[in-house]
């Protein structure tokens, strides 16, 4: 069971690393990892209507799309923060995208990737303190820009 802290009003799992650009989380480990959306990624997506993933076995480079998300008739790519091979996709969230909103750090995971360059983890934000500081600053920035309501 991962430790979930409340940071600036949002739940944040502290046992994993975060991609600041896309608001994805990457589970711990240098081999097979899970990816998901963090609470801010979920919040800014809105009500998720559709999710689709590329095929298992697909080789991804960091920055490539591993799938797509649709909310409010707005389709956007899900962009991988790490390089590797897709080894599993979460059929449960494809069938029920609301699962991502209900449990973003657990059952709402998106894909599993076998990392091809574990060194890329250094570009992610990890460690409970650093994650809390970064996430709080992101919420503050989103509020300042009007992306989130005050």
């Amino acid at each position: 069971m991962s430790e979930i802290a409340e940071v600036a009003g949002f739940p944040v799992a502290l046992d994993r690393a975060y991609d600041p650009a896309g608001h994805f989380w990457v589970s711990a480990g240098d081999g097979r990892v899970r990816l998901g959306l963090d609470a801010l990624g979920v919040e800014t997506s809105g009500t998720i209507a559709q999710l689709a993933f590329g095929p298992v076995g697909e080789q991804l480079k960091r920055g490539q799309a591993f799938g797509s998300l649709e909310a409010a008739k707005f389709v956007g790519p899900l962009t991988s923060p790490v390089s590797g091979t897709v080894v599993a996709t979460n059929d449960a969230v494809v069938a029920d995208p609301a699962l991502v909103e209900r449990d973003p750090y657990g059952a709402g995971w998106l894909v599993e990737i076998e990392l091809s360059d574990p060194g890329e983890r250094h570009d992610l934000i990890s460690g409970a303190s650093a994650v809390k500081v970064w996430f709080a600053a992101e919420v503050e920035d989103y509020r300042l820009k009007g992306v989130l309501a005050e």
Partner: protein, 304 residues
Amino acid sequence: MPELRVVDCGRVSALRSQTLWHALAHGVAAGAPPTLSFMRPSQPYVGVGYHRRLDEVDLAACAAAGLPVFRRMVGGGVVYLDEHQQFFQIILPVGAVSRSREQALRTLLAPAVAAFRAVGVPAELDDDGEIVVGEAKICGHGAAQIDDAVVVVGNLIERFDHTAAAAVLAVPEDVRAEVVRLMERFVSPTPVDAAAFKAAAVDAYAEALGLEPVRGAMSAAERGRLVELDHRFRSPEWLEGPARPEPQCRQVKVRAGVYVAWIELEGSRAMATVVRGRIERMEMSDPGLDGALTAALSRARLVG
């Protein structure tokens, strides 16, 4: 003042009424100026939202009617498009758009609302994010991030053939009849002068975005991308789309918050009309399906 490139493609083929603006989006992602584009299809056709199952389209009916079918990269469902619709697209670099999808959409649809109002249509952007007059949607819209550009598309519907629009859906006939009934109530054309609407849209988007409108054309790179997109959009693989699960409860969205949903069990069918979270009407061929339909509706996500 930075430039708003205005590209008016005029009347174009059905295929190009999709691929042109996709090519412009790739261009904006690659550094072309923010772009407002216009086009009008020269023939009727059917558009399929990026994530929708192709079996939502009655392909046999489309073939019999001579309607091409193209999958677009923006969201939404199966739509009937024709020469009585003036398409517009606003395309911006992703960094210029709010990270909140809902906020981005509202911001980029607001100038379209202003354009409708400028030509005498009392349009509003409602709480569901639809451009409406009263309770009727008057503009079909969708959005996507394509590379590093965001595109929001919409249309001025001068005339709308509700029966033709429902005829392209792969639905049982009683569902089709209900869809037509709801479309007549919730989808309305606005027969205004398209040239005036386009001029008003240019003014409204330029003012809202703080950009100077400049008539422009596609770049050579965008034309190259256009040819690639033509090829992709004609391919069976693209038309098939991403793999989608079989839904437990089928649904047709007429406008945001208005759905016809139905389930079929062992040869029986139950259908519900849902308007803003309330079941307005239910029909079932087997009364025993009441509980099954209610349960399916409670599980179904009536969004998208």
